[in-house]
């Protein structure tokens, strides 16, 4: 065996070790969180609100609901705009300087540090517009998160549309369909899997975000309420719950175990983290299922 082969083998083993190290790190992290969090987990821990147990800490039901509300509402807000923008950029724009700048802007948005978006939401939505949003609230948090995930959905949609074979679109035009009919009946149905994948991924992205949520949604130890109640501070004199009300989120519960260690114990923090990871993983699993079903049928 000469020097060249020895060198090759050395780097081959370095590559193998790196791969093994990566897997070990992952198993180590997930294993530790599971071991530390599992003892605390119980049905009442997951499904009761903090106010029902001890006022602060002790349960995460309110945070689970809050995370679901925030991630769903923000996705509902962002999706139409994102898909519309993606269709415009791929099918209507001529690829001139303006659409290229828009594409650049979207890249900038998707790389924005979350703290920058967080303080933007805090100042604009929570302080300047508090008569509309009710200050720290579900709607403030959702709008800020929608800005965060808009580029994610937009990019996914754009890629999905670009993957549609040009042949079938040409066939549609050849049959006399207009551009809109082609988009509606050929392009979008074909790209649906990719678009759905992007939407589901962005729900997960919104669920795991913490810096934006802590600065815009606040926190609440109670389950969200529903209904309309009078309020002098808000525009129209009414407060529409849960939209203009404070809302909790799981990442913030996890953060509380760092911020208020005497109220929220470390094991509760890890249990909340465990539930959060399970939620995000379940969302990712749904994504895989969408892709997999498409491949079969």
């Amino acid at each position: 065996m000469n020097y060249r082969h020895i060198k090759g083998n050395i780097f081959k083993s370095v590559s193998y070790m790196s791969g093994a190290l990566t897997v070990l790190i992952l198993i180590g992290i997930l294993g530790t969180i599971t071991v530390k969090g599992l003892p605390e987990l119980s049905l009442s821990f997951i499904f009761s609100s903090e106010s029902e147990i001890q006022g602060f800490g002790g349960a995460i039901g309110n945070a689970v609901i809050g995370t679901v509300f925030l991630s769903l509402l923000s996705t509902i807000l962002a999706t139409p705009l994102a898909i519309g923008t993606a269709v415009y950029l791929t099918k209507y724009s001529k690829g001139g300087i303006i659409s290229r700048s828009l594409s650049f802007l979207l890249d900038v948005m998707s790389g924005t540090p979350s703290i920058v978006l967080g303080i933007f939401g805090l100042l604009l939505l929570v302080y300047y517009m508090n008569t509309f949003t009710g200050g720290f609230s579900l709607i403030s948090g959702s709008i800020a998160l929608a800005i965060l995930i808009l580029p994610v959905i937009e990019r996914a949609t754009e890629e999905a549309i670009n993957r549609v074979p040009g042949d079938i679109e040409d066939a549609s035009y050849a049959l006399g369909a207009t551009r809109w009919e082609t988009i509606k009946l050929v392009t979008l149905p074909y790209a649906l899997t990719g678009i759905l994948t992007g939407i589901v991924l962005s729900i997960g992205r919104a669920a795991e975000e913490s810096a934006v949520v802590i600065l815009t949604a606040g926190y609440s130890q109670f389950f969200p309420e529903f209904g309309v109640s009078p309020s002098e501070k808000l525009i129209f004199g009414v407060k529409i719950a849960p939209f203009q009300d404070l809302i909790a989120a799981l990442p913030i519960t996890v953060y509380h175990s760092f911020e208020f260690p005497h109220l929220v114990s470390v094991s509760e923090g890890f249990a909340a983290a465990f539930v959060l990871i399970v939620i995000v993983m379940a969302i990712n699993a749904v994504t895989r299922l969408i892709v997999w079903r498409r491949r079969i049928g």
């Binding site: 081959k12 969180i33 898909i83 923008t85 650049f104 604009l124 302080y127 795991e208 995000v280």
Partner: protein, 322 residues
Amino acid sequence: MFNKDSRLDIHTFYKNMINLLNKDLRLDIHHLLFLSCAILTAAIAIYFVGFIFSTAMPVFESQGIIGFLTGTEWNYGKNIYGIKIFIFGTMIMTLITLLLAVPISLFTAIFLAEYAPSRVVYTIRPLIELLVGIPSVVYGIFGLFVLEDIFNLHVEPFLVSTLGYIPLFSDNTPNSGQGLLLASSILGVMILPTITALSEDAIRSVKHEYKEASFSMGATHWETIRNVILPAASGGIISSIVLGMMRAMGETMAIVMLLGNMKTIPSSFLSYGYAMTSKILNDIGFYVNQAEPRSALFGIAAVLFLLEIIFVALSRKIGGKA
């Protein structure tokens, strides 16, 4: 009868209007719809960028841009704001993160793309994608409640006893595991999957002919990787590293827990520091109502944002998008 007619009328009216827009004014109502979506998105993005920079403007005017960037004092009472310490904190932390994460993720990517059998790839890749799905607060409490003890009791004493004669490895805070090394290790794990996955894609997309040509010249597998595949994939690899770097610089929640938040420029791998993002998060809640301090905190965000915009432009350039 009357009702039916009027409905018909509305229908023809709608049709006529569409025709008018379509043919006579050469406008397409759906085109208009998508155009307005794009305009609204652009307006939000531009407003967002403008809002950050215009809120930060007063502090740039009162301190001067150079003064703001190079000043070392941050004092709300005296209205003096300089962010040199935070810039250095973020920069040094990001640099160490890259030193730790890039070699491991690059070799993992090479392993996945070149050496591993496909069965192994199909098990490992979803696992690596799982790492992306772990929220950053979770990395934070993992670092603080699990790794901090290990660093304090084992890693730091070991480094000090073996390499302590080098000033870069002195431990100024012997009772705590927090600091640059802990923060960078956690950040390294956070950006590892990003760099690995994107680099793997880049390596896989290198044309097969290149590889075969190299083999036919008698090159070994490693020589082919080193001299043919990596150079051909370098664009994608570098932009994956830039992306990882952006994520490290912008990370907030984990860093606020792990870096120690001490207002000094870190002097060794084990000392405390203070990152730009941590400063914003720690102070914005108290000062959002006061114009001067708020502007100063937005100033940090503006600097961070500007760096990010530069890196985005850079990675688009490398990635081939104009």
